[in-house]
Subunit: 352 residues, 2 copies
């Protein structure tokens, strides 16, 4: 994506140096720093500590982790398990790692393994780029329809966390329709949920949208209900970390609250995701999707600033699950479907 | 309330110095600083800039503001209007100021006016203390019932923002039943919503509860839905800034989202308030209660730390309105009632 007239992705391989390059997203929006990942340990560190985050991006990062592990001649199965357990909620990570692993296991040649790992990581990368592009095209129609109904008046879109190109490779998932609508000249404005505790909305989504020139306003996570109640939101679009084949969607903590409010106010609530985010094995999202609990200090401190009494306990649930009955539909690379097993299976008949 | 073995209130009059003393709540939890207010301008500054906050406390502060205005021989009607407009959402401010004003207008004597203003401000103060105490007694029954049903297992209570003694004079509104339950030896634990942007939960409620020795855990505002979904909350109790006679409740931004989630998960959702918080003139809370928009820099910065890209817009809605259908009941100094005009009027027949 264009950042100050340079084309930038969230991750790429420096083939000469055999190094994976990423943006250290912890430092945005104030500093744009590129970091080198040289080993699978670097990859695991980057995923765990959220230098990279976002379901599609951690999938791709995991895939490049397998490549580095092969290159460094590690015990590949052990390393793959370590990478997969770096973060528990997003299913893309296991999906991508297993995809590379299954391909390299087909050969015994070291040279061949490296070649296959690299090619598969590239393939996953480009697939995710294309998926996001298509999500943008399908989602664009939703925004265009609202714009037509409003006679060209500003379409107000709410999004939570960052499901932007920073969570992917390009375009993003939830933001892909937003970029497509902006490119199509549709009058839009985006409400950006701050997204505590790590402020991915205020830091990352706002940065992305700002660099692209898209009008946006940052609000506290508390404010979404009020603006929905007062006709200030036309559509909500969020990303996902794992979606069951029945239509329950795990996404950044707080998503569920926005979905409840959208439902209460008759506002369409869409979840945008590539097929790699579907979990084809889990039926009941609320009961079965593992919800990561992160370090309470992420709640307690903000860049070193103590926000709470020093003896108070804090808890840090990283995701929540929005039950299917609150979701208007899924925007995928194959098209849009309702949040039901039937409708999902119609789009993905090979999984039925 | 006891703070490190001293009895402390949020506001009091130093009769000798003719100065109103308050806690500067902006500096908690890290510093406990007492500030002198000597003029009605000081009072207005303290209310606007949230040195004092919370519906009952700003009411009492406003009442003492009228006393200072009388003492300093100001044009009393102009000053009262200024005080009342210092913050728009909480109805207690106008209610308290008008109560003092109407009494002092009955005499022409300067000496008599001072005496009446002081006495009325004291009376409002003590009434609010008694109201909170009674709210605690009525609310205690709710918590006791849950404790019995759970065979003495921990009762988990969620609260939003600070409707504690720091928002009142003593006991608090939402916290009064919590203190009463703790004093009664009931096993409780409180989930404290951080409450962005000004973190009154993480700063003030956590500080209060900690000083009293009540087990509590601070969570981001985003987390309430998840913990309600997973049986980690037995009851939610919040305060209010204005409640219509029909049962719609304005409270700190984000309250509405928690009420939606409580409803979705069958969790009782109570609003605790003294009668001074009822607005007997407004029917439709969502349409008619004015919602204060505060400086966007309260969202953009935290103690000087820039949280967003510097060119991004921010919006800062301070309150939202929870419609009556999401509220299980009101806990008032007269007892508990359902969130309907009928039930409210049964408790306050003189308003019918």
């Amino acid at each position: 994506m264009k950042v100050d007239n340079n084309d930038l992705r969230t991750i790429w391989l420096d083939e000469k140096e055999k190094v994976v390059k990423i943006i250290d997203q912890r430092l945005l929006p104030h500093k744009l720093v590129i970091v080198d990942l040289k080993t699978s340990d670097d990859i695991i560190y980057a995923i765990k500590n959220m230098l990279v985050r976002g379901a599609p991006l951690i999938g791709v990062t995991g895939a490049f982790g397998v490549y580095l592990a092969v290159l460094n001649n590690e015990d590949i199965k052990i390393t793959c398990d370590k990478i997969k357990s770096a973060r528990p909620t997003a299913v893309n990570l296991s999906w991508a790692v297993d995809k590379v692993l299954s391909k390299i296991l087909k050969t015994d040649s070291y040279i061949e393994k490296i070649k296959i790992a690299k090619e598969t990581a590239y393939e996953i990368t480009e697939d995710e780029v294309q998926n996001c592009k298509k999500i943008g095209e399908y989602g664009l129609k939703l925004i265009k329809d609202i714009s037509l109904k409003k006679n060209g008046e500003t379409v107000n879109i709410l999004t939570h966390c960052n499901a932007g190109w920073l969570a992917c490779i390009e375009y993003g998932t939830a933001t892909a329709p937003i970029y497509a609508a902006f490119d199509a000249g549709i009058n839009i404005h985006v409400w950006v949920d701050e997204t505590r505790p790590l402020n991915q909305g205020a830091r990352l989504t706002a940065w992305e949208l700002g660099k692209y020139g898209i009008p946006h306003t940052i609000i506290c996570d508390n404010a979404g209900g009020h603006i929905m109640q007062h006709n200030m939101v036309d559509i909500a679009i969020v990303g996902a970390d794992r979606v069951t084949y029945t239509g329950d969607a795990a996404n950044k903590i707080g998503t569920y609250l926005k979905a409840l409010s959208a439902k209460d106010n008759g506002i369409p609530f869409y979840v945008a995701l590539p097929s790699s985010t579907f979990d084809w094995n889990i039926k009941d999202g609320v009961k079965e999707i593992p919800i990561e609990e992160r370090n309470p200090d992420e709640v307690r401190y903000m860049e070193g600033l103590l926000l709470t009494p020093k003896d108070s306990s804090c808890a840090n649930f990283a995701f929540d699950v929005t039950p299917r009955h609150l979701i208007t539909g899924f925007i995928t690379e194959r098209g849009i479907c309702k949040a039901s097993e039937d409708d999902i299976m119609k789009l993905f008949p090979e999984k039925a």
